[in-house]
């Protein structure tokens, strides 16, 4: 089949039913917008989750009798552990100051006894460290003489982790739902649009066109519709992202300590390509019903 013929026929389709094409593309834009918004949510949540799991840490409380050399030896051991990213020594005075700052008690902390603020080593852990490993490390370190107690924050991180997990699951389900919806809406839109042209398909088939000949321009149209819709929806999403970011950002930053980001270039590319693909597939599948003439 002539390429020029194919494109001429696809152009005919657009010309004849421009309004219906606009209508179809509008529906697709809506669908892709939903998908894009869901993806935006997933991506940002993933970043937050990553950041929070990366911030795992451990506190090694030192006995009041711990000598400088004990501490130096302990630091050596800790530094050698692959899970440990950083070790910081916090002496009793600094602990008291930090507590005062956090609780806003100010000078009142002076009334608290020294035992309430033991010196400690704050360990930042690598994100890769898993929970059982961390518990084990905690136990081993506890056996040192200089160490009075080890706080692994496992309860807290466990809770946070399950919370993030739930959030992720929820957003994941949402994204899946949206994806299903997108496919459904796109499929239906194209199906209705194709139904509007069954007469044309019948004529083609009766004049001896192969299924491939009938399909090609429809698929070209489908691809163009899908691409248009996905690009348009991304543009719209970008605009609303930019206009809403200002209002939301402060809150989000205080909440999560992170900035909101737009979809990454790969995701954008994926959505655009997905649009074209879905358009092509949708057209091809919707046609089947009308091909047997």
């Amino acid at each position: 089949m002539d390429i020029r013929t194919t494109f001429a026929r696809a152009r005919r389709g657009f010309r004849d039913d421009l309004r219906l094409h606009v209508v179809a593309v509008a529906s697709l834009v809506v669908a892709f917008l939903c998908l894009g918004a869901a993806l935006l949510g997933v991506e940002n949540l993933a970043r937050v989750a990553e950041r929070w799991t990366q911030s795992q840490h451990m506190t090694v409380y030192l006995g009041t009798d711990a000598s400088e050399s004990d501490i130096a030896q302990l630091r050596l051991v800790l530094d050698s552990l692959t899970e440990v990213a950083e070790v910081e020594y916090i002496n009793s005075a600094r602990a008291r100051a930090q507590f005062a700052e956090q609780t806003e008690m100010g000078a009142d902390v002076g009334s608290l006894p020294a035992e309430a603020f033991p010196a400690s080593l704050e360990l930042a852990l690598h994100a890769s460290a898993n929970r059982t490993r961390i518990t084990k490390i905690g136990e081993r370190i506890k056996s040192f003489n200089a160490v009075e107690d080890v706080e692994t924050y496992q309860d807290w991180f466990g809770q946070l982790g399950s919370l993030l997990d739930a959030g992720r699951k929820a957003v994941g389900i949402l994204a899946l739902l949206v994806a299903v919806c997108v496919v459904a809406v796109i499929g239906n839109t194209i199906r209705l649009a194709v139904a509007n042209r069954r007469q044309e398909i019948e004529v083609l088939k009766l004049c001896g066109a192969t299924d491939r000949f009938v399909r090609t321009p429809f698929i070209v149209e489908g691809i163009l519709q899908g691409l248009t819709a996905s690009v348009l929806s991304l543009v719209l999403l970008g605009i609303s992202y930019l206009s809403l970011r200002g209002q939301v950002e402060d809150t989000v930053v205080t909440l999560t300590g992170m900035q909101v980001v737009f979809l990454g270039p790969l995701t954008v590319l994926g959505v655009v390509c997905g649009g074209g693909l879905v358009g092509a597939l949708g057209s091809a599948l919707s046609l089947r019903r009308y091909l047997s003439v």
């Binding site: 002539d2 013929t5 004849d16 004529v203 009766l206 004049c207 001896g208 066109a209 000949f213």
Partner: protein, 269 residues
């Protein structure tokens, strides 16, 4: 005579324009030995009890011109539809170019139809396409290059009296003009077999005769024609083979039957 490439490859009915063109005009109007179309003992039931076509046997040789007539609802269109595989026979068989049409797979039906030029009773033009597009589509399906399509469509439109109207939307044409668009589409590809279902129903008598003359010209160039019509005036004009369908039975019109038709005709006149 129009020839068709009958190679053994998958599609069954491949044809190329060069075959048709190159060999088409060398041996006009002489029926070949091998029949182009054979119908044997064909039955078609649309209702369980009453067959629409019963026990139909027909042999059409290459280069023949066959009139088909009969009352409304007799089965003329059905007969043609069986040939282009819109419907399949319920029993019996139809051989076109030696192949059983009923046994064709879905994939090879298009290749059967590419050997046919069909004028549908209800035109089946696409109303929102232009006249040019409606005529060109049959050649585009054959894969003819745009340049060839363009010149050939213009030529064909002129033959049916629609010269220079290629750019009008087909739905804006009069009934007779739309019918001529349908005729142009069917003859543009120079098919091996031309099936015309009531192609002059919306034309005035003078134009009807013009169109019949056009079909006869195409026939003279070697195309086999099956021409279904109610118009007894046309049947009288030209001394072609005549077949009458009545109550599903096909009757080869003897001279007597032709006389009957003439009587019918003068009766109605």
């Amino acid at each position: 005579m129009a020839r068709v490439n009958l190679d053994g490859s998958g599609a069954g009915f491949r044809r190329t324009d060069s075959h048709v063109r190159g060999l088409g005009r060398s041996n006009p109007n002489q029926p070949a030995e091998k029949p182009l179309l054979v119908m044997e003992d064909v039955y078609k039931y649309f209702r369980r009890d009453v067959p629409t076509l019963r026990n139909v046997a027909l042999e059409v040789k290459r280069g023949e011109f066959v009139f088909v007539t009969g009352p409304s609802g007799a089965g003329k269109s059905t007969l043609l539809q069986l040939i282009y595989r819109k419907h399949t026979v319920d029993s019996g068989r139809i051989l076109f170019l030696g192949r059983d049409v009923a046994r064709l797979t879905e994939r090879s039906i298009p290749f059967l139809r590419r050997n046919l030029g069909i004028v549908f009773q209800d035109f089946k033009v696409v109303p929102h396409w232009t006249v040019y597009e409606n005529v060109a589509v049959s050649m585009e399906i054959l894969g003819s290059p745009v340049r060839v399509v363009r010149s050939r469509v213009a030529e064909t439109l002129e033959r049916v009296g629609l010269a220079g109207r290629g750019n009008e939307r087909t739905e804006r044409l009069s009934g007779g003009e739309q019918q001529r668009v349908a005729i142009a589409r069917a003859i543009a590809t120079e098919p091996a077999l031309l099936l015309a279902d009531e192609p002059t129903g919306n034309l005035d008598p003078a134009l009807a005769i013009d169109i019949l003359t056009l079909f006869e010209e195409i026939h003279d160039a070697g195309t086999t024609v099956i021409f279904a019509t109610h118009d007894h005036a046309l049947l009288q004009t030209s001394p072609h083979r005549l077949i009458v369908i009545d109550e599903g039975r096909l009757i080869e019109a003897s001279q007597g039957l032709r006389a009957w038709s003439a009587r019918m005709h003068s009766l109605s006149a």
